[in-house]
Symmetry: C2
Subunit: 405 residues, 2 copies
């Protein structure tokens, strides 16, 4: 009789094994222009005050507030206009008693001025500015360092640089920034029958789907995929492919994981490193292998497309995101839907089921894990715990989308 799996273990145990895998993080410096969605490796303190000078918040006149006391509509104070400055310019004169300087929003306050009167409360009559309202001290001024003072903590280590945070770094003058290197993930498909999409399909061959799927999924985890092509399903070919990619941080294969003839990943791993997991109590994806070579994790996904994709999402994606220091996985945010039909689950195994969302109802996709159409139709998936046999029609399930956009 055929070989059996070494030992089928539960998802929880698999996660424990994976938590034990050591992760090495490297740092690089990149220009801010290409730092979008990278992760800060250190706390960022500002090197400048913001604003860097006392700055007018309104268009109007820079005045000494004491000059304007008692001004009203009926009894304006009249100040002599001595200069005009725009944002980006600075005044050449001081605002001495009885004078004012026209100022634009964003311009630095002239010396001696301590208040800005909004243009709406003034009238310029041939260089004599009529002020119709008294101005409070510091009115319409953002003081130097009032937003953030030089040397203050701006962003914490571990911050994901979304578009807004990139702007914040620019605003405080940063040009290059230290971020975690993106982990490099080698992706290998195995199988004598696989042909690269676009090439001619001879009888007995099928197109490789997993390379494309996994390569793009790896990107969504903040990692850089390395396309490694297709390995034949024999010991030497697979071993050579693995050796070729030992400079990657993680290797992901698909296929060659079952216990039948010609499935060789387990043997290769046993010789080159070790097998940590062979067989998980989940459906689909039972024949998954997790191993390591020189402390480098190797994930052996099943060959069936739906199973490979599901195992990637459940076990590999959280690991890669942790490795890439991506913060809490927003993708794991789930959406609640009613289920369109009664669903019978496999007993004794966690089951993960693709669903299609139509009219706000989740339809389980009941196809075998080799079916491409299951993947074509899927909007997301839901989980049925080990001890649940039946999910009743109309009950609420949590659907995890395959990819957030």
């Amino acid at each position: 009789m055929g070989t059996q799996f070494l030992k089928i273990i539960d998802s929880e145990e698999v996660r424990k094994v994976m938590n034990g895998i050591k992760i090495r993080k490297e740092i690089e410096e990149v220009p801010l222009e290409i730092a979008h969605r990278r992760i800060l490796t250190e706390d960022i303190y500002t090197a400048i005050d913001l604003p860097p000078f006392n700055r007018a918040l309104m268009d109007g006149y820079a005045v000494r507030s004491e000059d304007t006391f008692g001004a009203s509509e009926d009894n304006p104070v009249i100040l002599r206009l001595i200069e005009k400055i725009k944002a980006g310019e600075s005044a050449s004169k001081k605002v001495e008693k009885g004078t004012c300087i026209e100022i634009n929003t964003g311009a630095p306050m002239p010396e001696e001025a301590n208040s800005v009167v909004m243009v709406e409360f003034t009238d310029n009559k041939d260089g004599n500015v009529h002020i119709y309202k008294s101005a409070a001290h510091n009115q319409n001024i953002a003081s130097k360092g009032s937003d953030i003072s030089k040397g203050s903590l701006l962003l914490k280590s571990g911050t994901l640089l979304t578009h807004d945070k990139i702007g914040v770094l620019g605003a405080t003058g940063f040009n290059n920034i230290k971020v975690f290197k993106k982990p490099k993930i080698a992706v290998i498909s195995t199988g004598e029958e696989l042909v690269k999409p676009g090439e001619k399909l001879k009888y007995g061959k099928i197109y490789d789907i997993n390379s494309l799927t996994i390569l793009n999924a790896v990107k969504t985890c903040g990692c850089t995929p390395i396309y490694s092509g297709i390995a034949k399903d024999n010991y030497n070919d697979l071993k050579n492919k693995l050796e070729e990619h030992l400079d990657a941080d993680v290797i992901i294969t698909s296929g060659s994981t079952s216990a039948g003839t010609g499935d060789v990943l387990k043997d290769v791993l046993n010789d080159m490193g070790e097998v940590l997991v062979h067989g998980i109590a989940v459906k689909p994806g039972k024949p998954t292998i997790i191993g390591s070579i020189n402390n480098k994790p190797v994930f052996g996904l099943p060959g069936n497309p739906a199973a490979a994709l599901m195992i990637f999402h459940i076990f590999v994606s959280p690991f890669l995101r942790k490795m890439a220091s991506m913060p809490d996985d927003k993708k794991s945010e789930s959406f609640k839907f009613k289920i369109a039909r009664r669903f019978h689950s496999a007993i004794g195994r966690h089951q993960y089921v693709f669903v299609k969302i139509e009219n706000n109802v989740a339809h389980p996709i009941l196809k075998d894990s080799g079916a491409i159409t299951a993947v074509a139709e899927a909007d997301g998936y839901f989980e049925v715990p080990k001890n649940v046999e039946i999910v009743e029609e109309g009950s609420e399930i949590e659907v995890i989308p395959l990819e957030i956009y």
Copy 2:
């Protein structure tokens, strides 16, 4: 007294104006390798059957099911092994009465065979295979075209090519694929006081934050940003910059929108095209301008970073996503949090408030819209409708994240 806004209008009216803007969509063909997150422009029908041949689903023996009738543990049927085939190979012989062919998962069924007996229910004794269980017709076989038959609809026009859908296209042999061209969005900052991040900051100048913020935000909407640099805040400079970028699909500026001296976007738009909106009843972002030049939309965001970012999210981002044919905005999925303190809103204006999430509670960020630190701290924002004055402490609010990852 200073110039006033032409006409402040409500958000709903702004959306109506924007819905009236004509969107032109262009198509291009790209290799599948770079098609991730692009949008299909046509229904995709398969050019091949899947599987492309009758395919073994298990490792075992290809047999004629009628040969195995009556087989049991105690009384096995014995078949002569005439060939062995792996996945990717095809048999040279037919399975004639009394014979069998060893077959691997994924290999094409040999002629005349109509069933696969799993290796677990057999024993190979020197070329005589003992079969311990009778095999049903078509057992452990995926028939040609059973997953999807040639000419069937695989993916619909408008599908976003997430990693899984890319795989599906590969599996059916596609190499190049027609997708919508990414709209090109020119991003211009205006202001005499602005300096490019990383350059030396002279007195009176500040770093440009909006270019970096908006450029990266544009990417998250499925569009290609074009960095256009900083325009001076005067009529000719801004006009020249706009003319330079009339080949873009949309132009986004920031700054130069207020009614004060030196704020010139309105005048330039009036001469080059038209102003559709000048002033929106929202806080922050009241002085927003929307215009068009030769039917090309121009969004004039306020110069203040927090206001520019907010207006981008509320009005520009949905427009760009629509233009890029991105499907329903998952980013608009909101997360519910309790608010940490009582919040007083501006009456008569929709208000949008940045929040920081700490310990699962939303803290409104109460800073003016020029504050960089407001943007540095923000995790998302919430909306206060026009007619709501007070949001009580502890009440539940819907927080929209700034960027999903």
